[in-house]
């Protein structure tokens, strides 16, 4: 295994993307993700890649569309307000079945909001990254190592399913340093063929077209239905979730990313008090790990969603639980990071209630 180095989440993610074969990056600076772009600006020229600081987020995502259509492994990154600007382009990519990797190092919102860590773009990432009938694949790393691992794999997932992949991090994961073992450099000649790419062909085959405009309703319906069949295949094959002390747990916390780190500490503290708590940590937010959450809804007395927002993922937990078990919520918002003590207090409260 590679020697572990101490790196910021933003930088580990960027280096892993390079090693996965990303050779094009288009972006625009915004706190707290700027290190991703800064790192790419330094490293991409060294490996024969292209780094371009676009004039805006809108321009950047359309450059991603173009590079992806031409068959390149391409990435853009931003933070919450910038992702809103990219949403039109993400919808176009989905409509044209173009792969690509989009990083969102979230900050507090709405509007310009703040620059401290937040998870308030969950709905945006899993429901409405743009207009129209579509989903994107969403990873939710929780450590610097996972920032690297998810970035490395994101390109494979994007190519395999021809889908935009988002890595939904936050300012905490982006700015913190932790030990990380970086993945191996991919052999670029081993990357999958893209017979659909709009690359040059000297008249040797029919033209490929990257397009999301279909004026015939029946044709657009057929394409959307086909795309949703692909989404179903992703839901069947790619749900990821980490379980911690769930088997005998009365109270199962569901938390992702930075708040899962806090929740894990709270679970340990609850266990020390004799309360059987556990943690389910979605690693993919779309597809949401329905199977794991459903099993917990059968085995636990209560579920508790812990998030850095006003309550967003809790909707998915409730949909899966479907009334089988009470679903509670605890969150801090605006860039405030919850403390283990706060989460523990909520666990204790639920435990006392469910014991009555």
């Amino acid at each position: 295994m590679a020697e572990k180095v101490l790196m910021k989440g933003n930088e580990a993610l960027a280096e892993a993307a390079l090693r996965a074969g990303c050779r094009f990056f288009f972006g625009y600076p915004i706190t707290p993700q700027t290190e991703v772009a800064a790192y790419m600006s330094k490293r991409l020229p060294q490996v024969g890649g292209t780094y371009l600081q676009a004039e805006s987020e809108v321009a950047a995502i359309n450059m991603v569309y173009g590079a992806s259509a031409a068959g390149a492994r391409v990435m853009t990154s931003s933070s919450s307000p910038g992702i809103s600007l990219k949403s039109e382009g993400i919808s176009y990519m989905a409509g044209a079945d173009l792969p690509g990797v989009i990083i969102n190092i979230q900050r507090g919102g709405p509007g310009l909001g703040g620059i401290q860590p937040s998870q308030s773009d969950y709905w945006q990432a899993t429901r409405a990254t743009g207009h129209g009938d579509f989903q994107i694949f969403v990873f939710a790393p929780s450590t610097v190592q996972e920032m690297a691992d998810c970035a490395y794999e994101a390109f494979d997932i994007a190519d395999r399913y021809r889908i935009p992949v988002m890595i939904l991090g936050d300012g905490l994961l982006g700015q913190m340093m932790e030990p990380v073992a970086l993945p191996e450099q991919r052999d670029l000649s081993s990357l999958p063929e893209k017979p659909w790419a709009t690359s040059g062909h000297r008249g040797e085959r029919a033209h490929n077209v990257a397009n999301s405009l279909y004026l015939t309703a029946e044709e657009l319906e057929r394409l959307n239905i086909e795309r949703y069949e692909r989404y179903q295949a992703i839901k069947d094959a790619e749900q990821r979730c980490e379980e911690y002390l769930v088997d005998d747990a009365d109270i199962v916390i569901v938390a992702f990313g930075a708040s899962a780190r806090v929740a894990r500490s709270a679970v340990n503290a609850a266990r020390e008090q004799g309360i059987r708590a556990g943690l389910l940590r979605p690693v993919t937010l779309w597809p949401f790990p329905e199977s794991a959450v459903s099993a917990a809804a059968d085995s636990a007395k209560a579920l508790l969603a812990v998030e850095m927002n006003m309550g967003q993922m809790v909707d998915d937990v409730r949909l899966v639980a479907n009334g089988r078990v009470p679903v509670e919520f605890f969150g801090r918002t605006g860039g405030v990071i919850p403390t283990p003590a706060e989460v523990l207090a909520k666990i204790v409260e639920i435990n006392e209630r469910s014991g009555e």
Partner: protein, 178 residues
Amino acid sequence: MSKDMQAVFAGFGGQGTLFSGKVVAYAGLIEGREVSWFPSYGPEMRGGTANCSVTVSDSLIGSPLVTEPDAVIAMNQPSFDKFLPMVKKGGIVVADTSMVADLAQREGVRVIGIPATKIAEEAGLKGLANIVLLGRLFAEEPFCSPESLDAALVKCIPPKKAAMLDKNRVAVKLGMES
């Protein structure tokens, strides 16, 4: 084996608090322990103060944001005033008295003041007050082995600044003997 430590390194931007925090994190990494380092990057930075949270532990680290430190290095008065009340009982604060004029005391907390900026300047080590303070913290609360601390300095000082390595070593020693 050293015990777990949650620490805050705080001062003005440019005093090297982020660097000294990184040295501690790297020392933990070298010893195969769990470590995290998290900088302030919010409105505080705009006010000219910079701090970082460092955790070194034998178990997985939850939030990297340290809210109840075992140890604080304070390089200016606002940092000292902010973090002294947050320190755990039994914890320690090492402050640069060249910068912190009002060294308040708190029951149950060891407050140690050394004129780190003056010590560094008199030894021809301008800009290394952060490492002098780190040396003193290390003497009071050994958070790693001496070998790991030295190896961490080697890791954290880039090759093109290799000339700084020995100066940092001297600064650690001066701090330990202060």
